[in-house]
Amino acid sequence: MISASMKNVSKSFGANHVLKDVSFETHNGEIFGMLGPSGAGKTTIINILTKQLEVDSGEAYTSVGSNEIGLMLEHDGLFNRLSCLDNLIVFEDIYGIPRSRTLEALEKVGLTDAKKTVVEKLSKGMRQRLVLARAVLHAPKVLFLDEPTSALDPMTARGIHELIRELRDAGSTVFLTTHNMEEATHLCDRVVLLHKGTIIEQGAPEEICQRHNSVKTMMDLESVFVKLTGGGLE
């Protein structure tokens, strides 16, 4: 079943044509990657699919309402003066979910020990993990992750990858943007390559690599790091 799609979508900001005739669809229970350099239009696609932006032309569709969507954006939107736990309690109250689920979300991202730490004292990696905990708190059916591992150390990034796979296995659709090709190759079931607002290729990473006579996997630095350290999220 389709969880989100775009059909011939175009979007401009003044004279800047950010998206040109973009079409794709994502299916339930898959990790869908949107790859492209900065400024390719990835965040605009998320903003359209989460109904924060209107399209100029074409059709954008998301199968679920906003309260069944999980969001992790470039700007984290955390309440800096509150603790990690209090940040999640705000959304626990909004969604009406039990405290045990909140504590479980903190545990999943490895922040149980930091639950009383004020957010402004967290490292970049810990903030990212907290944002992910907030995004998955209400077990969303569709999860939009905008550059979820950018500027993170390999160990933290690896932990977030594991969590994303767990969410996919639990039935959620994960829609992520990244400019890290290795990340997309290892993580995504299907990807779209975006360049200057236009889709230049899409499909499963293996298919794309085969199509272009490339090798799908190779031992990357991240895997070497994780193999040598044997580290997980914590």
């Binding site: 989460t50 932006l53 939107g77 909004i94 969604y95 004020v118």
Partner: protein, 255 residues
Amino acid sequence: MRAVKAVFKKQFKSSVQNPEMLIQFLIFPFMAFMMTRFVGTDAMMDDILYFAPYIGQDFFDAMAANMPNLVTMMAGMFAGMALIPAVAGIIAEDKEKTSLRFLIMAGVKPSAYLVGVGSVILFVSALTSLAFAFVGEFRGMDFAIFMGAMLSGVTASIVLGAAIGIISKGQQSATALAMPIAMVLGFGPMMAQFNDNVARALNIFYSQQINIIADYITIGTDTPLWQSFAIMWANILVLAILFAIVYAKKGLTTS
């Protein structure tokens, strides 16, 4: 209701953790307490009268006759000055840091957000007003009139602050816009104590009406109370219309 409660809890915890904001709710009653207990208007007048030979005795005689009650003067300044930048700053900060976007994406309606934030300020301001009433030793009907005037003024300031927060792009622009307005509303009534023309000009503002009501309580002026309360609620109505126009035009968007 669940969303309002969530925003209220979030804002209360956040405000308590914010010393810059907290001090605005404490400093005015604290100043009133210190000035009432340790300075007093008589002592102030003795000091000021030292300059009488250089400026003119008549001016100081008039000043002495109209020396304001320090508690009510500070209370009026608090209602007019402290709250507008506070409310505008909260909304602008949540917009600027995209926290508001996440709340709205989670299903919080903009109206629920505004009610939640406004309720926290109203609640904390009610505590501050109680502190003023305690320092001023207002009892019985005087207490009820004073609290009625303060909460009406606070409501007006919250609505005005919310409108400024909505049109501001960030905290800096909110402060830049809120401060001059807050200064006029806060300092105006104090200046009106010493100049009838200023007093007449400021009569249309709610902060001046708080002072007039305060004079009714402390000095026993013959201004009809209903008139002052009517002006204050007319202020709230006008500000609510202004807020509705701003909200309809700009919305509570963050993108």
